[in-house]
Every structure is written in structure tokens, then in C-alpha cells.
Symmetry: C2
Subunit: 458 residues, 2 copies
Amino acid sequence: MSLLIPNLPILPFLATANQNEEASSSLILAGVLLSLVLIYFASKLGGELCLRINLPPVLGELTGGVLIGVSAFKLLLFPESGADASDSLLMQFLINTSPLSQQAAQSVFDAQSEVISVLSELGVIILLFEIGLESDLKELIRVGPQAAVVAVVGVVTPFLLGVVGLITIFHVDTIPAVFAGAALTATSIGITAKVLSEIKQIGSNEGQIIIGAAVLDDILGIVVLAVVASLAKTGEIQISNVIYLIFSAGAFVIGSIVLGRFLSPFYVSLVNRMKTRGQLLLVSLSIAFIFAYIAQIIQLEAILGSFAAGLILAETEKRKELEEQVIPIADIFVPIFFVCVGAKTDLGVLNPLIPSNREGLIIAAFLIVVAIIGKVVTGFTLFGQPGLNKLAIGVGMIPRGEVGLVFAAVGAASGALDPATDAAIIVMVILTTFIAPPWLRIVFKEPAIAEVIPKTSD
Amino acid sequence: MSLLIPNLPILPFLATANQNEEASSSLILAGVLLSLVLIYFASKLGGELCLRINLPPVLGELTGGVLIGVSAFKLLLFPESGADASDSLLMQFLINTSPLSQQAAQSVFDAQSEVISVLSELGVIILLFEIGLESDLKELIRVGPQAAVVAVVGVVTPFLLGVVGLITIFHVDTIPAVFAGAALTATSIGITAKVLSEIKQIGSNEGQIIIGAAVLDDILGIVVLAVVASLAKTGEIQISNVIYLIFSAGAFVIGSIVLGRFLSPFYVSLVNRMKTRGQLLLVSLSIAFIFAYIAQIIQLEAILGSFAAGLILAETEKRKELEEQVIPIADIFVPIFFVCVGAKTDLGVLNPLIPSNREGLIIAAFLIVVAIIGKVVTGFTLFGQPGLNKLAIGVGMIPRGEVGLVFAAVGAASGALDPATDAAIIVMVILTTFIAPPWLRIVFKEPAIAEVIPKTSD
């Protein structure tokens, strides 16, 4: 057709029957490449800046995500938020630099968002695998009772305080109050574990209690969500489902430890007998992915599976070698998760200039106080254990992260939450997620000294 | 609703307005996890078996892919082949083990196939980045003239032999003959580079000539494809587009080398000043992805971009450290590419019991002979260079791989190719791809000795 030099060529040599398919497939790849570059840029910019002002890098990754996400520059958007291709500056950039048409942009946008979402989920799966590898199963079992106390207290306290307060002070209806109370029970294991890893406290007594409690809290959170959601939907609690979840969670945890003990020798001898490149990494990641898959399909969370796999493989002689090889993998996958969490966070609900936000902000202020008190007290319920940094344990349980947002999303979608309470939950989640990392660093300064003293006096 | 213990629970607590979205998003992740485990299993099973019978592991990865793909167990299928969710055994497994319904399966299948396809494309991008890091820009420029001779001879010879033979011996029409001839010109840089890397010959004189020629061949292949496709569509050649492609390829190659030289000091000082985890890897991968993006949108191929980025970064003092960190990344991404290439290969066209295949098989036999001769001669056109393993260079150019399949796909889609010629091209691509790796190993036995002798006589 055009015999002039094409300024924006439309892949003319692929202008065949499957033109759209071929063209959009190569443009989805282009969109993914662009998104990854953007995510890495945001994560390193935020991480490096935070490190320099003595804040945890992961806070910088979250903030970097907020900057490029729906709240600020709208470069990285996701269809779940109601955004389409024309809202995304990244897609507009792609349209302007590539042969992509405005019409085809929507399907490319959807597909590349899907890919980035899966990569982000793989990111948190790999993070928890790494945390599992850095943890110590024996130590975790030893601190089990303490972790259980912290987890249960950390679920019951904020739930009761939240529900009673909302009903009596704010005259919120029972069902939305229960939803908000349930959202207060969550703990984001990802945020806390990453900070603990950054300050090298995962192996400490407090670190293992926090990790153990956060894992138990994740399981409790799934049960609580099931209860609350069925309450909102049918007005009654589906006992069968609650029993199923408790049973499957218990079976999964015990089953994976027993299975792990039994299969570890086979794993080591298999890896030792293999000779091709990457054998240790691929066998180990396959185990992590199988566990994550099982946890996912029995309605637990994929991250519980990869954490269990990490714990089990950490018991084998391959631990050190595997840990080293997982580092670069985590380096490229984990930032995708944190930046995406930030990018999906809509800070619009925080703007007090918008009148409709104000009611939510007042409720939010109350929820934040309850969220902090409800978790900080958990550490202090561990009586008679001198030398334990009880405040650090409580602070470690504060961030609600993505888990809290799931409650808000399910609540809003079921119609049980009015916009004000929904916004209040989101504000509470954002604030607790962003204050916990720097606070955790501050409170961990103390035990580092406290730990040295007993050792020298031994 | 159900107060009995649910045997296959359908995520009841997410049974809200966005139920389908939430549920399918978690099931897409489950599908991706399952696919990755399967891909890793197939790649290691094939790779380990091949290594033990002294064949290149990459051949095992391809064969492992064939086993789980459309030709055999139909576990890993892709919608491009016309398959849908009900054909895929992996999807059936997912339906039977998870709350996924047959109705929702199709969208999960499409989404997870898309994710795996993108991961596979990232795999070959990372492979070429690694090959670039292992290559030597100065050496590549030094062997440039030889590589150019090999590339041009390797395009012209099989094209002319193929077209003339098809027209005179088989009385094929001009346009399908030209298409088949064009498919003969391709070289799969991925297959050859991986084998060279496995036998540690990338740094050798022959290795660098092959890599250089394969890269040039990739560029020539894009130009040839543009010419042939426009010929098939309009009956005439779009000069403008050919000029555009030649110009943009030249500008890209020269531009990236110049830009790389100029920006290298900034890269090193940036990485040195950064303090957060994974800084070297993320900055370097971002550069690779930006180059891949640019190559992709100017209608070259993404792999040319990542190869150029690898070449440039290999010139900096970070080379060794970066190479080490890229290894685990390549270990988890690259097998996805080779297994997917195998899984997408339909060996059905090879079955001589199906009468309609026979005409294609006869043409295929001719094409295979031409494909081998046309590339093997290339090495012998390098006159007066004793000590150079000329046969190895020719054999290194034989595999057509995915590049050859693109010709067949574009040809079939445009209607220019009849089924017999189309099948013949596919058979030729499969055979050349599968025989080259073991053959390359055999012919490289010699220079290893030849190389030692000059060194001791020096």
C-alpha cells in the first residue's frame, strides 16, 4: 500500500490472517518489559532513598509503587481498580512508541496486567520460600506456644475492640462492624518478614515468634474471612466451611512437616545425582511450587505452601547452597510484589478535602488506634520471659498489608460495607503497613544489645 | 447453602459480586504453578537423560517439551494451536483438583497460556543476554567480516537451491517456493548458542563466528520475511519497508554499541553507589529489557536487544559478578523457552501412515537436504584460514528452530502455502533443529585438539 517510508510502521509483513494475534502477542511482551523496567526503577529509587534516611528499603519499594500507581503518576494500573488502557500512561507510551492501536490497546493492557499480577504473586511466593529457608523448623516448633498466644491474642483483641467500639461509639451496624473488626485481625507476613530479613533478625527469638505468629495469623485470617463473608451473605455462619478450613489448615501444616521429613533424603540424593545446570534450584523451586499449588487449591494461601517448602528444605544439607542461589531469584521477583502492592493502593481515600472522605477518616483514626493497640499488647501477654523484646513482637504484628485489603475488597463487593467504613479500613491498612517497617527497626535496636549481654555473661 | 462438609468447595467465602474474578485470578496462579512444575520436570528429565547418552541437554529439553506437548501427552497446550481448555490434560487436572468449573476453565486456560508464553519469551531474552555477556565485542567485531560472509552465504545458498529445486523438480508455484526458500534461510540462534554454551565453545573463534553470523542472520531473516510476506500479499515487494528494516537494524546495532560505550562508566558508578539488595542485577536486567523493548518496537526482535545489552555490559568491570548472578535467573527462565518450543511442535506431520502427509514428506526430504547443504557450505567459504573448524561453523548454522516456524506460520496464515509445502517446512524445521545439537557436539571434538596444538607450538 504505502510506498513512502513508514514513520510508524504497522508490522506490514505480519498483515495476514492472524495479524492481530501475532502483533498483540509481541506487544504484550513489549508491555511486560516496559512494566518490569518501571517496577525495578521505582523499587530501587524508593529503596535507595529510604536506606539513606535510615528507613527500611521495603517501605521505599511500597512508596515507589504508590508513585507509579493509581494514586500518583498512573503509569502502572490494573483492571481490578476499574482502570482501562486509556487511563494507563504506560499503555499510552506503548501506543505512541509502537504499532499498537488505541483499539487493540485494551486487550494488550488486560493481558500484560495479568502477567504482571502473576509475576507479583510469584514474587511473594518466592519471598516466603526464602523466609522459610532462613527460618528454623525446630526453633519455630519450640516457640510454637508463644507464637500461638501472640496470634490468638492478636486476632481476638483488635476484633473485640473494633467491633464494640464501632457499634457503641460510631453506631455502625453489626455486619459492617464485624467486617471492619475482621480486617483488624490480619497480619501481613510479607512486610514484616522482609523487614526482619533486612535487619537480620529472622533467626532471633523474637523474629521466629513473629514469623510463627504471622503464619498462624494467616491461617486464622482465612477462617475469620470465611466466617465473616458467609455471615454477610446468608446472615448465618457456614459451620461446615469453618470446620473444613480448620481441618485442612491443620492437615496441611502437619502433613507437610511429616512428608518433608520423609522425603528429604530422596531430595538430597536426587539433586546429588543430577548433572545438568540449575538442578538444585529447579528441583527446589518445583517443590515450593507444588506446595504452593496444594495450599492454593485447598483454599489456604499459596504463600503458606512455599513457606512450608522452604522450612523443610532448610533442614537438609543443601540449605546454604540453595539459599545463595535463591537470592538472585528473590531479587528480581520480590520487588514486583511490593511495587504492585503500592501501585494498587489508592491514597485518594486519605484526602480530607473531599467531604465524602471525612466520615471515613474519623472512623479510620479510631481503627488505627485499635489496630496498633490490639497488636502491640500481644507481645506483653508472654509472661515471665526476661530478655524477650515484647514490644518488638507486637510491632511486628502491626502491618495489615495485602491481607487487610482482601477483607475490604470482599466486604465492599458483598455490599456489606458502606463506602465510609470501607474507606476507613483501607486507610487503616495503609497506615499500619507504612508505619510498621520504620517502627520495627527502631524497637529492634534494643534487643541487639540485650542479646549481646547474656552471651558475654554466659 | 450447603451445611454438609463440602467435598469440592467452590470458594464459598468469595461467593460475592466479584467471585469469578477473584476465583479465576487465584486459579490462574494455580495453573501457572502447575505448568512451571511440569516444565521443570520435563526439562530436567530430558536434559539428564540426554546428558547420560552423551547428547546435548538442550535436545532433552526440546524432547521433554514434545513429550508433554501437543504431539504426545497434551499436558501443556497453547491456544494458538487451536487447542482449548478441554484438550489440555493440565487443565483437566486443575478442574479435578480445584474449585474450577468447566465453564470458567477456558478463560483460565487462555490467561495461564499467555503468562507461560511471556515467561518463555523472557526465557529466550535472558538466554541471549547471558550469551551476550559470555561473548566478546572486540572478538565479534574482529570476526565480523567472516561472520558476514557466513551469514550471507547461509541465506543465499539455501534460498536459491530451495526455490530452483522446488520449481523445477516438484513443480511448486513461485510464491510457495519463495516462501519455502525463505524459511530455509533462518538460523535459530537460541539452539546453537545454548549448545555452544554447554560445550564451552562460545568464546572460541568458531563460536564467535557462529554467534555473529546467527545474529546477522536473524536481522537478514526479518528483512527476508518482510519481502516474502509482502510479495505473497500484494504480489509486489514493499521497497519502503525493506529500506526501513535495513536502516533500523543498522541504526540499532551501531547505536547500541556507541551508546553502550558512552554510558558504561555511568552504569558502573551507579551500581557501585547503590546499597540495596540485588542492585547490580536489577540495573543490568533493566538495561537488557529496555534494549529488548526498543528492538521489539522497531520491528526487530527482542532477543537482539538483550544480546546487545549483554555484549555492552560484558565490556565493563562488572562482567564476572553479573555473569554469576545471571546464572540462576537463566536456570529458571531458559528451560521454559525450550520446553515450550518442544511443546508447540506438532510431530503429527511426520506420520507417513496418514496419506495426506506423504507429499509433504517427500518435499520435506528435499528441503532437509538443501537445508543442511545450504548451511554446511558456509564455513568452507572462509578461505585461507588454517586451524578454523569450518565444518563446525556450517553445522552451527543448521538449526532453524522457532525462526523457521514463524515463516511457516506466516505463510500458512497468508494462504500462500498449500498444506503439503507448509508441512514440509515444519518437518524441515523440526529435523534441522533436532539434529544440529548432537552433530555440533561431534564436530567440535576436533577443534578442541586443533586448538591445543598451536598453543603448545607457540
